[in-house]
């Protein structure tokens, strides 16, 4: 869980990046604390990857500071980067080399990564048996796993994963979720995950930052976001004549109706008033075949925050 009293593992302040005339990242600031899983949510082209690339040293920010584990990434590059691990976009390895050799080479660039540690992370991601095969024979899911192994190899304080569930099978996703949670909650690693798979984020993250058009729109805990989402709960009412039911409800502006189908209609109504709403329909002679609560998700909250989600694929 986030602990605002501890020092942030990653601190980003006023980071801005412009490509030509397009502002890709616009004064983004946020902190990432040890022991939390932070979800970075935004539609494609929102600037998620650019921010991650700035943190990981691919892209130089035009403005702003990035502090990793207390080291300024600009002035103390190697020390700052020693505490970070991650995957940017798809993990890419040297395809003609084995996974083990890839890890061995990566380990050379860090201090204190032992041979045993390599075996350990291979075991962790479940690749021990195929570790000596050339990476080019791997499936995308396996590449994700080896990418994760590489990211975890040097026991980073900050772990940044860009779209980590891409190409993973359900078992892989489950494993990833377990590993990330264990890293954060047991080892105190600050984990940051970017994704547009909202359900996944809901299950994985403690805090979520929402970004669109290069601007960080909101940061809140997953619970807060869920609460925000629950405010606009709706119910699906099954009836033989939805049109008539709509007419009845339209007379009462308290119950906005949407998604009319041949035998259902959705009503936006709070839990406390659904009883009154159903009673109104019954009183006016509409037959009720069923009432079902539509579980609202992050998705809708997200669409709302990002302004209709025009950019969502």
């Amino acid at each position: 869980m986030s602990d605002s009293k501890s020092e942030p593992a990653l601190s980003i302040t006023g980071t801005t990046k412009t490509f030509g005339s397009k502002v890709a990242v616009d004064h983004v600031s946020f902190d990432l604390y040890p022991g939390e899983v932070f979800g970075f949510l935004g539609p494609n082209g929102a600037g998620k990857t650019t921010i991650i690339k700035m943190i990981m040293g691919f892209v130089r920010p035009d403005e702003g500071t990035i502090i990793i584990n207390g080291y300024n990434r600009h002035t103390d590059y190697e020390k700052a980067m020693a505490s970070i691990g991650g995957i940017v976009e798809n993990p890419e390895m040297y395809n003609n080399l084995s996974a083990r050799l890839n890890l061995k080479m990566y380990a050379r660039l860090h201090d204190g990564v032992t041979k045993e540690r390599i075996d350990e992370v291979l075991e962790l991601v479940g690749l021990t048996e195929r570790a000596d095969e050339a990476v080019k024979k791997y499936s995308l899911g396996m590449k994700q796993r080896i990418g994760l192994a590489q990211a975890l190899l040097h026991r980073p304080k900050v772990l940044i994963l860009d779209e980590p569930t891409n190409g993973l099978d359900p078992a892989g996703i489950h494993l990833l979720r377990d590993i990330l949670k264990r890293c954060a909650h047991e080892d105190g690693v600050a984990v940051m995950v970017s994704s547009h798979l909202l359900g996944e984020m809901q299950l994985m993250c403690d805090r979520i930052g929402i970004i669109n058009h290069g601007k960080l729109l909101q940061i809140c805990t997953t619970e807060e976001l869920m609460k925000q989402a629950k405010k606009s709960n709706s119910y699906r009412i099954k009836t033989s004549d939805p049109k008539r039911a709509q007419d009845i409800l339209s007379e009462n502006s308290k119950y906005p109706v949407s998604n009319l189908s041949s035998d259902t209609l959705d009503v936006e109504v709070d839990e406390s008033e659904i009883n009154a709403c159903v009673r109104l329909l019954v009183e006016k002679g509409s037959d009720i075949l069923g009432v079902q609560k539509i579980e609202s998700s992050l998705e809708e909250a997200f669409l709302e925050i990002t302004g209709g989600g025009i950019d969502i694929e």
Partner: protein, 526 residues
């Protein structure tokens, strides 16, 4: 520092896992080892020398030659007439028991052949030296035949037409005949030189006589064969020409017969050359024919194998960063806690290591090949002058340095490939452009020759890349010549000072490095 080392080890690991690299290295090793032998076979130097050597010089040959001439001419004595004639020269009376050959000019050579052959068959010691075996005996043999014929020709002048001029000619030719006879029959260099000197008075060939005199000092017993001696005579005539240029304080111009004032640098070079040759002549360490052939064969092997080296390192440099950008594997380098300039440097160092490794393979391969074939003694050290003293660099070190020096253009091409590689994801473009540059050498060479009198060509990069003959100005004195590095060599019609070329190259390389650095270290990676 240890981060750079780690990156460097990773680079070497990656490259060494590529099969294509080992195939190219194997090609390099094979061509460098087989190249020299192929050269010897194709050039067939030994046979060439055998063919130019005189034929029919054994005892049976000469006997056969005499007998066939005798068959055509009949008894030679029938043409001979004797008389005593008198000459008065400057009031002094000379009496000469003279011979008259009453014979047609066409038959004169047959007569001369018979007499000459008889004389050789009686007097020459065929057991001591076969005539064709040494330079001295061969030259004296030819001289004897020619001079004998000259005397016979003078003897074919009727008694009443022999004037004082004839007498002077006759006296001189007889003296020459005496000298060359002694030279031939006693295997005596001094007499041969006296013979040549008299010839020199007649023809103005002082240099040749002087050269043979030096040759005789190096080989007083006259044991050197023709090819060894002509090889040495070439060096001696160079030595004499240097001395002549120094004494006249002039230098050879661009065209054959033009002379230009001697510059201080050139004077020093000529003086050093003279010093080196004098030492080599004194110590018998001048490049022997075997050494010269070895050096040519080694050069050939190295030049051929260099093709694969060029291919290898241009592919490595061209793909170095671009292919990692294209496949995305660069990510695992960027994510690592290493500054980008260290990645940049480590990759460059790895490429340079391959140039060195390839050079080592090529140099050792060619040298080993010739060492095994012609003996390791034919691999001569490099002579140079430092602080007024003649010094040497051991062969293996020298050969490696020479080959590395010949690869300076390759280093420039590698920087070009690297600079492009740092600025594109397209490996093909990086490798293609750099290979194109190497190939364009020939075209540029033609352009240079078209504008050979202009000075602007001095400012072309290619004019300043090939520095072998400037770094090793005394290559000739250990048998090598400046065509080492033939794949990427470049000949300038006029010489550019080394300091200019080095400065130019430094600036040029810096610009290329900056373009590379700017492309990879300073730019964002998308």
């Amino acid at each position: 520092m240890n981060k750079i080392l780690a990156l460097y080890i990773n680079e070497m690991t990656k490259v060494s896992r590529r099969i294509s690299v080992w195939i190219l290295l194997l090609c390099m090793a094979l061509t460098t080892f087989l190249g020299p032998r192929f050269f010897l076979r194709v050039a067939d130097i030994e046979r060439f020398y055998e063919e130019t050597a005189i034929s029919a010089v054994t005892k049976p040959d000469i006997t056969k030659m005499r007998d066939s001439a005798r068959e055509e001419l009949g008894d030679p004595n029938q043409y001979v007439d004797h008389s005593t004639i008198r000459f008065t020269i400057q009031n002094e009376v000379f009496e000469l028991f003279a011979t008259y050959l009453n014979i047609d000019e066409s038959d004169l050579s047959k007569y001369s052949t018979i007499s000459c052959a008889n004389s050789i068959l009686i007097n020459y010691n065929f057991d001591a030296y076969p005539i064709e075996s040494t330079f001295l005996s061969t030259s004296a043999y030819i001289g004897y035949i020619i001079t004998f014929r000259d005397v016979c020709y003078l003897n074919s002048v009727p008694f009443d037409q022999r004037d004082n001029v004839w007498f002077q000619n006759y006296s001189r030719e007889c003296d020459r005949l005496d000298y060359v006879r002694t030279a031939l029959f006693s295997h005596d260099y001094e007499s041969f030189i006296k013979y040549l000197e008299m010839d020199g008075i007649a023809n103005g060939r002082f240099t040749e006589t002087e050269a043979v005199r030096i040759l005789s000092e190096i080989d007083p017993q006259g044991t050197f064969d023709s090819s060894e001696s002509s090889n040495l005579l070439e060096l001696i005539s160079d030595y004499l020409r240097y001395k002549q240029l120094l004494s006249m304080n002039v230098d050879l111009g661009d065209s054959a017969d033009s002379y230009i004032p001697l510059t201080a640098a050139r004077r020093a070079q000529l003086e050093n050359s003279v010093k080196i040759l004098e030492k080599q002549f004194a110590d018998h360490t001048y490049p022997s024919r075997a050494t010269t052939i070895s050096a040519s064969a080694i050069s050939f092997g190295m030049n051929t194998a260099q093709f694969f080296l060029v291919l290898l390192v241009i592919i490595l440099a061209g793909s170095s960063i671009s292919s990692e950008m294209a496949t995305g594997s660069i990510k695992s380098l960027i994510i690592a806690p290493v500054k980008r300039w260290k990645i940049f440097l480590a990759k460059l160092l790895a490429i340079i290591t391959w140039i060195f490794s390839g050079s080592l393979v090529i140099t050792l391969g060619a040298s080993l090949s010739m060492g095994l074939k012609s003996g390791f003694s034919t691999l001569a050290p490099y002579y140079f002058v430092s602080g007024g003293q003649v010094r040497t660099i051991p062969y293996v070190l020298f050969a490696l340095l020479l080959f590395l020096a010949s690869n300076i253009p390759l280093l420039v091409y590698v920087l070009v490939a690297y600079a492009i590689s740092c600025n594109t994801k397209n490996t093909g473009v990086a490798v293609g452009i750099s290979t194109g540059l190497v190939l364009s050498n020939t075209v540029t060479q033609v352009i240079i020759e078209a504008f050979s009198s202009s000075r602007w060509i001095d400012f072309l990069p290619m004019a300043n890349m090939y520095l072998t003959d400037k770094i090793f100005p005394y290559l000739r004195f250990n048998g090598f010549n400046s065509d080492v590095g033939g794949t990427i060599s470049f000949q300038m019609p006029h010489s550019i000072p080394l300091s200019f070329s080095v400065t130019y190259l430094a600036i040029f390389s810096f610009v290329l490095l900056f373009i590379a650095y700017d492309g990879f270290v300073r730019k964002d990676i998308q």
